[in-house]
Symmetry: D3
Amino acid sequence: MSTINPINNPEDNPRVKVVFDEIRQLRGTDYINNLWRYLAMDADLLENVWTDVRDLMATETLLDFKTKEMVYLAVSIANACQYCVHSHTAAAKARGMTDPEHAEFLRIVMTAGKTNHLLNAMQVPVDNIFDAEQVL
Amino acid sequence: MSTINPINNPEDNPRVKVVFDEIRQLRGTDYINNLWRYLAMDADLLENVWTDVRDLMATETLLDFKTKEMVYLAVSIANACQYCVHSHTAAAKARGMTDPEHAEFLRIVMTAGKTNHLLNAMQVPVDNIFDAEQVL
Amino acid sequence: MSTINPINNPEDNPRVKVVFDEIRQLRGTDYINNLWRYLAMDADLLENVWTDVRDLMATETLLDFKTKEMVYLAVSIANACQYCVHSHTAAAKARGMTDPEHAEFLRIVMTAGKTNHLLNAMQVPVDNIFDAEQVL
Amino acid sequence: MSTINPINNPEDNPRVKVVFDEIRQLRGTDYINNLWRYLAMDADLLENVWTDVRDLMATETLLDFKTKEMVYLAVSIANACQYCVHSHTAAAKARGMTDPEHAEFLRIVMTAGKTNHLLNAMQVPVDNIFDAEQVL
Amino acid sequence: MSTINPINNPEDNPRVKVVFDEIRQLRGTDYINNLWRYLAMDADLLENVWTDVRDLMATETLLDFKTKEMVYLAVSIANACQYCVHSHTAAAKARGMTDPEHAEFLRIVMTAGKTNHLLNAMQVPVDNIFDAEQVL
Amino acid sequence: MSTINPINNPEDNPRVKVVFDEIRQLRGTDYINNLWRYLAMDADLLENVWTDVRDLMATETLLDFKTKEMVYLAVSIANACQYCVHSHTAAAKARGMTDPEHAEFLRIVMTAGKTNHLLNAMQVPVDNIFDAEQVL
C-alpha cells in the first residue's frame, strides 16, 4: 500500500531507462528496488534523487562505502523511515558491515538516542569550547 | 538557561569525583563539559550515562573512533539536539575528521534527510530482498 | 493491529452519531474512516478532534482546500505518521492535487528535509533580517 | 555559535561568486544570508544545495511561490529546524502570506501535530480506500 | 527573536482580555507568559489553544496534575520544543515534581529514547499479544 | 520483516538464558517478546538494554509503575516507534491504566503535539521565569 501508483512499463520512457540501466550496472544486478520503480512516474524527480544518491553513495569519495552507509542508516533510523532503514541496512551489509559491527552500530545509535533525549530535556548551555571557531 | 540547577562543588560527592577524574584522564584535559557538570546533581544518573558513553565512545571497540563519532553525530542532527550536535562535531574533529570529510559527512546527512522524507511520503512497500533473512 | 479496541455499534451513542452524520454529510459518502471509528470509544475525544479538523479542513477559510491539505500532509510526512500520510494524500487528491503537482510537492518536502538536516548540522546563527520585527 | 567556520572572502573562489551573484540577482538584494555564507567553505556542497533550492523555490513551477514556501515551512517546523523556520517564515511573507493567513497556517500545522500524535498512539489500520491504486 | 510580532496592548481586545483574566486567575499570578502574549495577535487561535490547554491541564480530570505535566513534558522533549520543555518542566515542578523525581523522569525519557532508536533500527515484528484485542 | 536475524536456540548461550529467566520471573509469564528474542544475537547488547529497562521499569522506584509506563509511552509515540507504542501501551494497561485514563492520556499527548508544533513555528523567546535557577 502506497500513496503513489507505480506506472506500467516505466522503461518505455527513455529517461527512466537511462537511470534504470545505471542502477543495474552500478549494482551488478537486474533488480530495481521499489523506490526507483515508483519514482519512475516522474522523470524529473527520479533523475534528481538518483543523481544525488549515485554521486555520493555509489561513487568513490573521501569516506569509505561502509562508513557512508552507516551514517546514512543512522539518520534514517532517527527519522523512523522504515523503507530507508531496511534498504540501508542491506546496503551497509553489502558494503562489508559484519554482524558484530552491526551490533556495535546499534549500540551507538541507541546511546545517541539516549543522550539526545537527556540533553533536549536538560537544556544545558553549549560549552564555548565546542564553537567551531574555538576548536581551531 | 537550563531546566536543571547545577550544584556547587559537585566533587564533594565522591561518586561524582570518580566520574570526573575518569573524564579528565581519558580526555587528557581538566575541562569538564556542561553535560557532566549538570548531571552531577544525581550520582545515579551521572554514572548510568557516563558508563554507557565511556564503554562505547572512549574505549577501543570494533569500529574506529572517528566512525563512531560520525554515526553518533548523524543521529544527533536528525534529533535536532543542539548540545549533542556541537559536542559530537567537536569530538569527531578531535578524532580526526577533516574539513573535507566534514563537508562530505554533511552531504550524506542531508541526502538521507532528503530520501527519508521522500520515502515517508511515498510509503512504497519494502522490497523482500531487504529482509534480513533474505540477505543471508 | 492497533492499541485501541474499536467498539461495536458506536452510533448507539447519540454523541457519536452526531459526529458520524456530520462526517457523512460533509464528505458526501457513507464511509467513516478508521480514525473516527476507533475514536468513538470516547465521545469527548472524538468531539474534540472532530471539531478541530472540521472547522479548519472541512470549512471555507482563508486558504484554499488544496493548499491546506498539502500543508497538513507536509507535517504528517515529517512526523512519519503512516495513517496521516495516507489519509491526507488522498484528501489532497480529492481537493484537486494533480499527479504533477504531487510530484512537485514531493520535491518540496524532500528538499526541506535536506536543508533541515543541513542546518541542524551546521547550527549557523539566524540572520537578524529574519526576525519578525525586522521584516515589518 | 556554529559547527562550521565561515571562511574569509568567500567570493575569491569563482564558483562561490557565481552562486552568490545568482542569489543577489534572483532576490534583488545584496544581502547573502548565513546559510550560503557558511556553505561557501565547500563549493561542491554550496552548488548542490543552491541548485536544488533555486530550481524549486526561486523558479516558476506548477505551484505558486506562496504555497511552496508554506509547504517548505511546514516541514521545517515539524523538524524543529530553527534557522529554517525563521528563513522560510520570512520567505513566505515575502511571497505574500498575510498575517491572517499566517495565523491560519499555524492552525493547520498545530492540528496536524495533534492528529499525528494521536494516530501514532492509536496505530489504527490504514483504510484500504486510501491506497493510491484504490483512489484512481 | 521570533517569527510572530507581539502586538501592543493586547487586552484592548476583549476576547484576549477574557483569556488573560482566566490565565491570571487559574494560576494565581499576574504574569502572562510569552506563548499567550504572542498568540494574542489572533483571538481565534488564542482561544482555540487556551481552551484545549485549560480544559486538560488546568482542570481536575482523571489523572493527577503532576502526572499530566510529566506526560506533556515527555512529548515536548522528544519533539525538541525548547519553549515547551522549559515551560512544562516549570509546570511539573509547580505541580509537585521533586528533584529526585525529576532525575528519575529523565531516566525514563532517556531510556525510552534509547529503546525507541534500537527498535526503529531492528524493525522487529510486533508481538501479537500486544494487539489491543488480544490484551482484553 | 526485520533487519536482524533472530538466532536459533538463543538460550544455549548461558548469558542469554540468565536474562530470559529474569524476564520470565519478573513478568510471571513464559512469553519472551520479540525485542529480547532478536537482541539475543548479541549478549552484550541484550544485557546492556535489559539492565537499563529492568532497573527502571521492573523495579520499585520513586514514581509508580503506571506513571512510568505512561511517560515511556509518551516518548515512544512522539518518536513514531511502532513496536514501542504497542509494547508500552500493553505494559501501561498491565500496570493499571484504565480505558478512560488511556483516553485522557491520548488527549495529553495530542495536545502536547499541538502546542509543540505551534511553539516550534512561533519561536517565541523562553520566559526568564522558566529558568531553573529562577524557579527555586
